[in-house]
Symmetry: C2
Subunit: 244 residues, 2 copies
Amino acid sequence: MRNLLLEISYNGMNYHGWQVQANAVTIQEKLQDAIEVVFGNREDVKGCSRTDSGVHANVFCCNFKTDKNIPAEKVPDALNANLPCDISVKSCKEMPLGFHARYDCKGKEYVYKIWNSSTRNPFLDKLCYFYKYHLDEKLLSEEAKDFIGKHDFSAFCAAGSSVEDKIREIYSFDVRREGDMVLFIVSGNGFLYNMVRIMVGTLLDISSRKIERGSIPEIIQSKNRSEAGFTVISDGLYLNDVYY
Amino acid sequence: MRNLLLEISYNGMNYHGWQVQANAVTIQEKLQDAIEVVFGNREDVKGCSRTDSGVHANVFCCNFKTDKNIPAEKVPDALNANLPCDISVKSCKEMPLGFHARYDCKGKEYVYKIWNSSTRNPFLDKLCYFYKYHLDEKLLSEEAKDFIGKHDFSAFCAAGSSVEDKIREIYSFDVRREGDMVLFIVSGNGFLYNMVRIMVGTLLDISSRKIERGSIPEIIQSKNRSEAGFTVISDGLYLNDVYY
């Protein structure tokens, strides 16, 4: 038996997220379809995380077991030939049998992309959030530093989440501009449901002065979702890196 | 009466090119729909060129006449509110009554985008041409210089074109790389039907040694379409600038 780790990338625009569900097209389903064609068996693929509907991945990791001996370096081309153009397998690596893409994950990096211009970009529809009021990326990057550290992030978790332990550690949070694109780049050991989207929405509310500068520590302390900002749309969210 | 010049940008992926046609969705039609809503009359919009099905525009210019007095600076937002997300009006300017976006055009720049990597990019499906064999952009940029000048470009015109005068002047032709993306940037006073796509296909055939290095002058001289290379797909073609 072999345990194969795939690094994939996908445009989530046309999918209901990673995880297989009834009556909706998902990335996991498309990947399992391709694996079935190439390996001859429908294998259960374990993903590093459950991405939401519409969320993208520059890097997403998953693993599956097989007893077929197709060389790992031939797997990406073989799977890509059986996948739609919005999902791409970038690499395949042999792992120890005990490896699990989700349980062994030590952390992740997300990037949230905002097109910050007076006119929208016709090539980025559903690939970023269009926000026309000018963002001061230096100010926001300073504010974002208050997220760094180990905190109870209950205030930044969508209501209704069943997770009990809401303590997570944020390693870094930078905001930077590339022309009209503003990138919010955050890494941490784990993220609660909608956590990145609420953190970015809170920074936007600070930008528009709905929320006062310097109040992120208080909002964290409050553990109250209604103290934090709005949840930005999924279109701009990309899983950007996965650490093992 | 006023004559308004619009600078627009569009993702051509979902359109059958610029020009209105029966039973197919076009950019001109969508723009005329929006103008009808905003200005109250369906005006005839003159485009700077006819782009093909699937071709994109970073910059495309067009003009129309109206007697309504909406200030020019308010026109982009008003039209954008009535356009799909893959078409964007960037600016609007008052022009002399005699101005015509097509007849007054002094030249254009196109860029052709090739994703040149061993794995495809899931975010660029239909937005570039995916070519997996390594391209030497310096070599191709040197070869491309042979297109510059005033020539009869019959060899680089799709068979069946009804245009009689096939003399065009190419001002510049550069090939450069930005990471895995290779850009073919060409400007000239005018372009024949499929001319940019055949020029790029010829450079790719030089890259793959189907066509010998240094033979572009001979191919031009031959005036024979079958001497030139293949026609690359429309997905990678962008109108990039329009000169008046």
